[in-house]
């Protein structure tokens, strides 16, 4: 019986917290605890954990550092970051370095946390582990015919992406979410590079919804927005692959695009893998509000560009429904 339970590890320097987590989770899981990053890594080396839950604010090693090491030592282990205070730097690192499954704020919801842990444990057990391969700047870009969609108000971003990709992949660029929907319908998009806001519209909704419907598409946020809640939602509901604050170095952008393309091809090759990036449900009505906003923006855009063919709105509506399956 005990051996069937998923093995989870809770890390926090505050003993009361680990005790609480243990009490909360011990009924369903085999809970191990550690009061520091070093202790946690030692345990990871001894046991095969399904899930590691770590607090961010700890002496010596931060939670992000612990989870990054866990990812390296045990790629199949799902990682959850627990934090009392949304420190933007920590959140960005949790995406880029630790590739966390969820980002959970203290105090946690005692009804939800066991479910999230159970989901993570289930994924860890059922889905194949991702390769821990490190992508380096020297490695060639492999696109497998996929296309990169850049959604940004600033054409310089598309320019920058085109420059780092070169001939290896096609780059489509738009400043308009309606066009983005069109492109997503028509072309096989591997990677979306998006800003959080396009025009006046919150583009993160598109990103989040896309991941829930099309988990093999890899999303990179390239943004100068620094709102912790936005990024938290992008992690939990959009499983974004990378969060890159602007301005970005060309070398780093190349590295990010390259690994995103590789990520996409591995997700395509083995569809089971994308289960590791299962997202939290978006708030109800998100899809409708996104559709209304995009239509509204598209109409304004159309009014400015008379040359656009008639019947575009009808085509857009159909495309939107097809894309999101409504």
């Amino acid at each position: 019986m005990a051996s069937n339970k998923s093995k989870i590890l809770c890390v926090d320097d505050e003993p009361n917290i680990v005790r609480s987590l243990q009490w909360l989770l011990q009924r369903e899981f085999e809970v191990h605890t550690a009061s520091s990053g070093q202790d946690a890594l030692a345990l990871v080396n001894q046991h095969d954990f399904d899930v590691v839950i770590s607090d961010q604010r700890m002496p010596v090693m931060t939670g992000v550092e612990v989870l990054r090491e866990v990812k390296r030592l045990s790629p199949r282990t799902m990682r959850i970051l627990l934090t009392g205070y949304s420190d933007m730097q920590a959140i960005v690192k949790s995406v880029n370095d630790s590739e966390v499954f969820r980002f959970i704020n203290k105090p946690w919801n005692i009804g939800e946390l066991p479910k999230v842990v159970a989901q993570a444990a289930e994924i860890a057990r059922s889905r194949p582990a991702e390769s821990g391969e490190e992508v380096t700047e020297e490695m060639p870009i492999v696109a497998n015919g996929g296309c990169i969609l850049v959604i940004d108000d600033d054409p310089a971003m598309a320019q920058a992406v085109s420059e780092v990709v070169g001939e290896a992949a096609k780059v489509s660029y738009t400043q308009n979410l309606a066009d983005a929907v069109d492109i997503l319908n028509k072309e096989s998009v591997s990677v979306i590079v998006a800003e959080t806001r396009v025009g006046s519209i919150d583009a993160t909704r598109l990103v989040r919804l896309m991941k829930s419907r099309h988990p093999q598409i890899v999303t990179v946020m390239l943004t100068d927005d620094g709102d912790a809640d936005t990024v938290t939602a992008l992690i939990n509901q959009g499983q974004i692959y990378r969060f890159v604050p602007k301005p970005v170095r060309a070398g780093y952008l190349k590295l990010v695009i390259n690994s995103a393309l590789r990520k996409h091809s591995s997700l395509s090759l083995e569809p089971g893998l994308s289960g590791r990036h299962t997202v939290e449900a978006t708030a109800p009505g998100t899809l409708d509000s996104l559709m209304i906003d995009v239509q509204h923006a598209a109409m304004q855009y159309e009014a400015r560009n008379q040359a656009r063919r008639t019947g575009f709105m009808a085509a857009f509506g159909a495309g939107f429904r097809r894309l999101f399956g409504v």
């Binding site: 505050e14 917290i17 005790r19 909360l24 931060t62 009392g84 203290k106 005692i110």
Partner: protein, 597 residues
Amino acid sequence: MRFRLVRHFTLASLGMFCLVALTLIYFEQQQAAILRQVQDQQGSFFNDVQQTFAKRQDESARRDLLAIHESGNVNLARLFANALWTKDFAPFVAQARTIDAEQCRNLPDVGNGGSMSTTAPKKACFAKIGQRIMALPGFRELDAKVYESMRKSTVFKIKVFDLRGITVYSSEHAQIGEDKSSNAGWRSAALDGTPKSELTHRDTFSAFEGKVENRDLISSYLPVLEPGSSRVVGVFEVYSDVTPFLNRIEQTSSEIQLAAEVNQRKVAEAALENQAKVDATSDRKLGAVALLLALLFAGLLLIVRRAEKIIGRQEKEREHSHQQLAQSEKMASLGQMVAGVAHQLNTPLAFSQNNVLMVREALGGMDLPMKVAARMSMILKDVEGDKVTLKVSQLKANLDKLEGGAVDIAMLQEMLGDVLDGIGQMSEMVVNLRDFTRLDRAAVAHADLNKSLHTVAYIAKSVIPKSIELVEEYGDLPAIECNPSQLNQVFLNLINNAAQAINGAGRITVRTMTAGSKARIEVEDTGRGIPEDALPHIFELYFTTKPAGEGTGLGLAIAKDIVAQHGGEIKVTTRAGGGTTFIVTLPVAQQPLVKAA
């Protein structure tokens, strides 16, 4: 002394203007003096010229008079000689020559050196000769002829000398017989044949027609030439009256003198007038300059006053924006603190909430088992003997609910114990927050700085990264009269700065000690140190090494202000890569606090 623009400007410019005015007046006066001097010189020169001219004119008139009369006398003598000499005088002179004059001439003269005077006996001797001449026959006839021919002319006297120098005839009979051989005029005429004239003034003079008074006379010694030859045979002396001419000359001279004086007066008047004009012009000039200076001053004063007003307004605006910045800096550090505190509170909150909810759930599961147990106890109370019959069918149906009663009560107690622990942590935080802000207490108090520092350290621990160890080493400190809330702000700022200087792991040590009459508080870190080029500026307003938008550059400036208001000092020692120590020294015997701006 505070710099006051308008006052300083007024004093300086008025002083300057006075100096300019004084300089101008001085030079004007100097110029007027020079003008006066030039005019005086011109006047006296003009005077000299006129005087010289008048004198020359007078002299030349007299000379001309003399020359004209001499030549007139020469002609007269010729006429006289032609008329009287051959017929009348020549025989008479020849007679007179027979009278010996040598014995009289041999009589000694008296006197010494050049000035010789004839003695009375000598004079008497010559007078006797005159008697003898007058006694000669023909004298009366001759005398009458001479008198007749000379009457009604300007000639007052005629004398005739023989070549010995003896007066053989004189219209003044008393002079006949006198020796004139040593007379310069006679010698010139007799020996050189040259006439000689002389202008003399006589108060009384015996003329042909009796005595005359106050007369200007020209006496001419004239050689008498033998008719038809140039041989001098005798000497005439003719006295002619020039008084009317001389009077006319003198009158002309005096007229010239008068004209000169009038001219002189005119020149002087013109000079005075010019002087007055120049003075008036100079006064006008000074007036105009004074007016212009006054205008300039007024204009500048207007500008300066406006400038002062603008500067004052800018000063106020700067003060205002500085206050706003200080306020926003305070808000920013407060915000950072609140975020840290919120995180710190989140931890006990999280586990307390978790535990309470779990206990509540567990208690919910214990509802039925507890009822069953209570019922059992009531049944057991009524039962006598040791056997009870239970209907288990109902109980079996609720067996899953009864299993919930198998909770570990000790575990629940432990959970609640943790909750109490959490509440303790939270209330400790609240107490510290209250101690930190001291909003419910007087701003100025007699405070124990060690306690204050401990509060600050407690708060700071929740803000700074956990990889940084915060060590408190407190020595004995007397209570200090201070504004603890402000000092707390300073210490929190210093600890935050220290934390920001540390990358990754490190240590901050907060130390207190008494040094003489001062309390010394040190905040030492193991961070990267302050770069040499930044060190002199760290306490300056708006100086920051953080990127724009992250640091206001006010933290340390405000800290320095606050410490200064407490009469203390803030210093820093740093070593690149070796950490930094900020040292705050506060006087133990506190003077009244400087009111915070």
